[in-house]
Amino acid sequence: MASFLASVEHKAYHMALFAVKHRDDALDIVQDAMLQLVQRYGGRPDTEWPPLFHRILQNRIMDAHRSRRWSRMLMPWREDPEDGEAVTDLADSKQLPQAERLQQDRAMARLQTALQDLPVRQQQAYLLRHWQGLDVKETAQAMRCSEGSVKTHLSRALAVLKRELAEDWP
């Protein structure tokens, strides 16, 4: 279980960070997902852990997203915690050479902006399918929707990303 969690925590954190755009909230989401997986499904065979973990993570992300949307609707005067925090947290590429670092930073910044601007369902469908490597069926199970919905989300997300990243993409 420890090695499994270590293998998924990095990507899970970034997925949560893309969705909620706040570092502490993303860490809370990942910790909750880990805790729930260990406590509820720790006795299951390890082949079942990845889909269960992704499902729990998606539930947590959507819960956080909904609660944030509600609080934004009910208290519009409150400062939004996501402003200007997520993008700077992700890139820490000081060890790379100067030119490569600049190029990667720019690409990363553009990608982060494009991903963060996607609707959450499209964003998560894209990340699960094309970054985590789940197939359409597993993505649908993780997101609790039909395979057709996943394909629609993917198609729309790809269209937006292609449009947003057309220039200056490495």
């Binding site: 954190y13 260990v38 720790g42």
Partner: protein
Amino acid sequence: MNGDDEQLKLITDIRRVLDDTPLDADSRTALQRARGHALQAGRRRAWRMPWLQVALGASLAAVLAVNLPEREQRAAGIGSANAVASAEPTPATSPAIASKPKQAPVRPASSKQEDAKPAAIASAPAVDADLLENLEMYEDAEFYQWLSEQDVEGAIDA
């Protein structure tokens, strides 16, 4: 390069950039702490569950051990009492038998052992009616046997 190839290249490039994204030190430490916390909670739960199962099993066994024999006794007592009640003739069908007065148990006043038996039976919550009746008959026979022996001794004394 057609549309599918472009799309595939875009997906590959995005994946490469995402894979190359490093974590800052604070986030890495926080994730490690979160993982340790989750695993520790899992170990605590794993320790707690067998203890809970053993405790529940023991308490259930204790409850059954206390209640089950008593229930069985009660059920047997009620069943035999019902059987006796249904076997007894009604007054309308056999008035002669029904009008016969019940014989009171006669016991020797001097015997302490004989005194203890009915007291023990009376204290039992569920008494088998057949058993009680047989015991009374046995005590009667024993008493008459004892009485006849007394008479013989008395005659010899006389």
